[in-house]
Symmetry: C2
Subunit: 476 residues, 2 copies
């Protein structure tokens, strides 16, 4: 069997790069990308601008043909009408891997289609791999690669971490990257790929690459359609046995498809079929935007559960009921505590606490009650995951101590443990403190349980396919 190197490998294992359209005007796309590489890229960076001169201490070559060194990857950031010429010159120069971030092609109709067709001809003539056009390109903080043409003042960059992302929508990508930069420690991203119009590199290439990439521990996707659905699903079936894949397949509805048509010319398929295919391929489907960051937090910090039995610890009966409803919605089960564990709970807690599952510590709960409940439940072999729900406004709960115990317990990391903090100022402060250490905290009982639901769905998929969930580790 011949193992093919994924085509995107060439883009990320780059030793020399050329920015075509490097601009001396601050914050222009060609200026931002030049800055990114000059500042962060450990390999060689060449800048091209027909006017010549200098930028960030580097010579501006009039044309890529004037660069004497070999170039692995070129990033073309010139207006669409000049892009074919730039691509032609890259071909002549023998550059095989090109990122075209510029928009103004198929997505704008007739005029753009003519231009994109010209690009196709040149790509075929020189056998070039192209990411784009109409995209953000690629980003990898650990490799110092960053073709995202928005300045850091506009688009904050997350630091290096376990999550790789590929997206059909550049705007989605930018917004999500921006959001991840502010999530907890901000240490989340391995590889980011925005392939825009997918004139060449597409969703399957992206999945093949991040599937093999050692730094990538989990994969997050945004798709509106498939260039090659069959091949994508085939690849996903293999990758999902090693790493979780999750994300959004938009264009779920006829209305969505209508919107998509004028966006990336995506055709909506029958969504029920898509849903089945995603399921079969082990892709965990996310519907709402909120759920995306919720998943990153859960998968990126928690071990996988070994089963579907959840323990809920709360100080508010209503929160426990809402969480229990969600347990059912997510095809989870409320754990039945082992007899010795049940006995212990009955011993340590006052009679008016409810020691069944959910454990309701009531409005009389203290931080120490939470600590004790965590410890007891943790040792129950009937419990696979723990959900910690807290309404901090109750009188005897010291919120700082509660945060301390929650943090200490979260560090054990033998069973997934998620928290929901519900309420005003005190809750928000505690949430911030815990998130800063990448401890997953959600703003509602339902979202906490749903996070466990996603982890458990992946466990179930692995077990069904004969893979031991203990062997898969996303979290550090």
């Amino acid at each position: 069997m011949i193992i093919m190197t994924p085509r995107l490998e060439n883009f990320f294992s780059v030793k020399s790069i050329c920015v075509i359209g490097a601009s001396t005007t601050p914050n222009k796309p060609g200026n931002v990308v030049a800055y990114n590489f000059v500042n962060s890229f450990p390999g060689k960076t060449y800048l091209v601008n027909p006017r010549g001169g200098e930028l960030y201490g580097k010579k501006l070559f009039p044309s890529v043909l004037d660069v004497e060194d070999d170039i692995d990857v070129a990033c073309i950031i010139v207006p669409a009408k000049y892009a074919p010429q730039a691509l032609e010159q890259c071909g002549e120069k023998g550059i095989k891997n090109i990122i075209v971030t510029t928009g103004g092609f198929n997505e704008i109709g007739e005029e753009g289609i003519v231009l994109q067709n010209q690009m196709y001809e040149i790509m075929n003539k020189y056998d070039i791999n192209v990411i784009g056009p109409n995209c953000l390109g690629i980003y990898s903080p650990s490799l110092g690669i960053d073709t995202m043409f928005l300045p850091d003042s506009k688009l904050k960059r997350p630091k290096s971490g376990p999550v790789s992302i590929f997206t059909q929508s550049g705007a989605f990508g930018a917004a999500f990257i921006d959001q991840l930069s502010g999530l907890g420690s901000g240490q989340w991203v391995s590889k980011f790929i925005s392939y825009g119009n997918a004139s060449d590199i597409n969703e399957t290439d992206s999945l093949e690459y991040v599937g093999e990439d050692a730094e990538t521990k989990m994969i997050l996707i945004y798709l509106e359609d498939f260039k090659n659905g069959r091949k994508f699903m085939e690849t996903a079936r293999k990758v999902s046995l090693r790493k979780p894949i999750m994300g959004i397949k938009a264009n779920r509805t006829v209305t969505g498809a209508k919107a998509g048509a004028s966006h990336t010319a995506a055709l909506s398929s029958n969504d029920a079929i898509v849903d089945d295919l995603l399921n079969e391929a082990g892709i965990l489907r996310v519907i709402t935007w909120d759920q995306l960051a919720d998943c990153v937090l859960a998968f990126g910090t928690q071990p996988l559960p070994l089963g579907d039995r959840v323990a809920i610890i709360t100080d508010g009966g209503g929160a426990g009921v809402m969480a229990s409803d969600m347990v059912s919605d997510c095809n989870l089960q409320l754990a039945e505590f082992s007899p010795d564990i049940q006995k212990k709970l009955d011993e340590i807690f006052p009679i008016f606490y409810s020691t069944g599952n959910p454990i309701d510590l009531t409005g009389s709960a203290t931080a120490e009650d939470y600590r004790d409940a965590f410890d007891v439940v943790y040792n129950d072999s009937n419990v696979d995951s723990i959900v910690n729900l807290n309404i901090p406004c109750i009188p005897d709960l010291d919120i700082d101590d509660y945060v301390k115990y929650t943090r200490e317990f979260a560090l054990k990391k033998k069973k997934p443990f998620v928290t929901a903090l519900i309420g005003g100022e005190e809750g928000e402060k505690a949430t911030k403190n815990l998130l800063a250490e990448d401890i997953p905290v959600y703003p509602s009982p339902g979202r906490a349980v749903r996070a466990i639901g996603m982890l458990t769905d992946y466990t179930k998929y692995l077990i069904k396919h004969g893979v031991d969930p203990k062997t898969i580790h996303v979290e550090e």
Copy 2:
């Protein structure tokens, strides 16, 4: 036809109140409630503590029987075992309306059931109305009424506004009250009722009262079961033609019901039937906690739409597709722009913007583009609601100007207008600034559209029942 005064009217039109169990120990429940009334209640406040002495400049009466004045409402905050005696004395004194916040009754099993049965006997003997036991009681900032026994340092109080809330779960109520205090201006609450074990006053009494209350413009509920489902639905059918009613009916699932059983002894009904009944009665059902505050923001600040046709304005195609999917999920329609409006849009925007619906201003959007799109679309008689989606990281968008235009447009208030701001730091700052003026901003496209969906569901209900949605105003 005899118009009965709702029983809760007696609790809120109170001129003299007595706190039984007023405590001199700071932050104890009996201390907090005494403080609340002494500080905020414009009527007469009497404090009772068998030890006598003084508190907050007021005499502590050894017993309620020692108070010579008439008392409209008593609030009993003594330990459960002393509660029957306190209630008996209230009966002797002729007090007809009593709030018992103390827990330790039916909800803790055998021992508590005995106590609650004793309470029933006394209530019947003296024909007393009781809120509770095991509850937070009532809160009305405009009337200076506050039996919530958690200090302001723990539980922040929202200011006076259009929303009345009643809840079976005190913990839910506390958490939601706390949350509302930090939502936008914090000016949200008209009446809050937590009736706990519902030994007497229940969900129907609560709905009857807030349904008639002039200050109440919208009603938010949390229920796990019904004491009298038929009567509640009957009342709701009348009230929902005048004010929107929305909220959570938990215990949706068998698992939830199991959790609820040990909480307020609630029995889950077949949820599909409950769903139909809520629908028929015009109660807008909310499933997730996030959706609650989302609804308060939408209903509390926006007019009702006159139809289901939504215009979406975005700078990110992907966000537009996700929003369009949600348009379909919420049984809304993407508006088809009128020919003259379409012509105008095509004239003012560059060819590479997508001027269909969703309007995609692309990554080239400026704040002025948004302003112009708002203005044009607003004048289209084919558009009932407007959804404004923004990914602020794009290069030429000045976020401060964008906030300015969004604010100006939001003030027109002739059609519902909601915003989603998606991304990191800049988005969060802009969100905060807009929310501070009670302009509804959501963190995702889906939640913005869903808010319009809820408003439109209510419009549809009103139209179906022959009520003109133009006559209903929640927003100020």
